[in-house]
Amino acid sequence: MTVPLLEVRNLRVEFPTRRGTLVALDDVSFSIAPGEVLGVVGESGAGKSMTGAAIIGLLEPPGRIAGGQILLNGRRIDNLPYSELRKLRGREIGAIFQDPLTTLNPLYTVGAQLIETMVTHLPLNPAQARAKAIEWLELVGIPAASQRIDSYPHEFSGGMRQRVVIALALCAEPKLIVADEPTTALDVSIQAQVISLLKSLARDKGTSMMLVTHDMGVIAETADRVAVMYAGRIVEIGAVRNVVQQASHPYSAGLMGSIPPVGRRLERLQQIDGSMPRLSSIPPGCAYNPRCPKVFDRCRVDRPELMPAKDGNLAACWLYAEQGVPRHA
């Protein structure tokens, strides 16, 4: 196995509040190999964005990393001082956010934003950076890039703005992209274009990606592996084909249940009866037990860790306890 580009070990993120400490992420472990795309799915509030924010070091206070490690190329980055981490952001890890209408600064031209990002990280003079910026705009498919470089964000449509955001995230050539629902806010008709752009750019540059999305179709088409999150934990992780077609965890199976047969555009995640518990009231044992169709006694008492399940997937579910010893990290 290749050395992972990113490794997250037993990550725990806490939010101290007046009514006690909320654990937003608990014992989250996964890795991303160079050039690999890891899809992350799960219901709203599962902790997907939180995981991405922890990796780029932009958890919103009072949220903080309370345990575990994040390693990039084998180097710990979760405990770096702010100024060191700043140099990694954009340069080593790029980020793409959900809503392109709000992620660009309205008062600067797209060119100025590209140029300042590149000049911050790369040994370029302003003229070189400008030429590069035009190249990037062409690369992400902005027509007449050499003219549009001096346009302001409001002069672009949503889809075009997300292309600009992609250029901004990639322009300092990071090795990892954290893309948090990059197409959710876009018009359905252009979502596929933007995703395939992202996918092909990542492939060409050999960039790894953590792709958070609600769109199982996107996962099936783009990701190499998938992590399914529930209530601040990863409940299943494995190769995309195995998880989509042969989900081990009852929660993942529920999510995938509604996916239409291959060949049709895949739809949003299926609705599962009930709702995810709030962070302040996660039940004992398996967090999914109140909603699980296969629940049994042990589920209400002990919390399952990730353990080998079907087809080499790892699942946090007691159904697989007999198949092997729980994997301890």
Partner: protein, 327 residues
């Protein structure tokens, strides 16, 4: 751009006419200028002569038109109190007020904006709390009290700064400035602080609130995610986005500074337009009062125009008609 300025000027016209009507009405109906000008002893013939001279026998509308035409030419007649042309009085007094207002505004901006940025960035620091407490004092103490306290401290007890007047002034092409002499500058300090303190605290609180708001936005998060330096994020991206509201308020406040210089000028016996106005009110010197009113209105209108132009410079989204076909 040019069309924009023209349209704003046209919009300003009704405002100015309304103010003109008010000050004319004051002219026509408050006090009896004839009685004031004639003094105690006069004949009916003298009186009728004067009424005819002043055009007071003509219909209201004709009189108003004449007033507007004269006002547009800076012609407001004679001051009842000083028997000198009002325009001349105002031109003499304007530099004092404008210099004072300018210093106060610069003080308010130069100190208020950095304090606002600091308190917005470091919300819980000890210094931020101190600034906020201090700003409460600035907002709640009345101007005259601040002036008196400053005089008491720096003039009476410490004896560092003068308590009244402008100090020595230098006349440059009809503009008497106190900015070029040592005593003139010293004389400016206390009145500027008095006049600018409220605005300073207002601007500080505004910048702070705006900074806090802007720092929560996605584009700031994204700027951080791109690895920009704190300096670039805070002063390039965040501060610039707070400017539009800051410009609005500062513009309005500059108008207010000039208008409310009255109190400060009275406390410091500052020989500006505000003091002139107060002295005129005391004896119902209507020509001076109406000219002052019109002038203040003109300043507000001009400042509003400048504020609009600044918006235009700061925020590209307002530059309509420039777009080369979006999408």
């Amino acid at each position: 751009m040019f069309a924009f300025i023209i349209s704003r000027l046209l919009q300003a016209l009704p405002v100015m006419l309304t103010v003109a009507l008010l000050s004319f009405a004051m002219f026509a109906y408050v006090g009896d200028p004839v009685a004031i000008m004639l003094g105690q002893d006069y004949t009916i013939a003298q009186r009728d002569q004067l009424v005819a001279d002043l055009g007071l026998d003509q219909p209201f509308f004709v009189q108003f038109m004449k007033f507007v035409v004269n006002a547009a030419q800076g012609e407001f007649g004679l001051s009842y109190r000083l028997s000198r042309p009002v325009a001349q009085l105002i031109v003499e007094r304007a530099p004092a007020t404008l210099e004072l207002a300018l210093c106060a505004a610069i003080l308010a901006l130069a100190v208020g904006v950095p304090m606002g940025v600091y308190t917005g960035l470091y919300r819980n620091s000890w210094l931020s709390r101190f600034f906020l407490t201090f700003s409460l004092i600035g907002v709640s103490l009345p101007t005259f009290l601040i002036g008196i306290l400053l005089i008491l401290t720096f003039s009476v007890w410490l004896g560092w700064l003068p308590s009244f007047g402008r100090g020595d002034t230098v006349n440059i092409g009809g503009w008497s400035t106190g900015l070029l002499t040592w005593s003139g500058l010293k004389a400016l300090i206390l009145p500027s602080i008095t006049l600018g303190l409220f605005q300073l605290t207002l601007i500080m609180r505004l910048v702070r609130a705006e900074m806090m708001e802007v720092l929560r936005t996605d584009y700031i998060k994204f700027a951080r995610a791109r690895g920009l330096t704190n300096r670039a994020v805070h002063f390039g991206h965040a501060l610039k986005n707070t400017l539009v509201p800051v410009i609005t308020i500062t513009g309005l406040q500059l108008g207010a500074i000039i208008a409310f210089a009255i109190v400060t000028e009275t406390v410091f016996q500052w020989p500006g337009m505000g003091l002139l106005f107060i002295q005129s009110v005391a004896v119902a010197d209507i020509p001076v009062m109406s000219a002052y009113l019109l002038l203040i209105a003109l300043m507000f209108v001009t400042i509003n125009l400048i504020v609009d132009l600044l918006y235009y410079a700061v925020d590209p989204r307002l530059r309509i008609g420039r777009g080369k076909g979006a999408h």
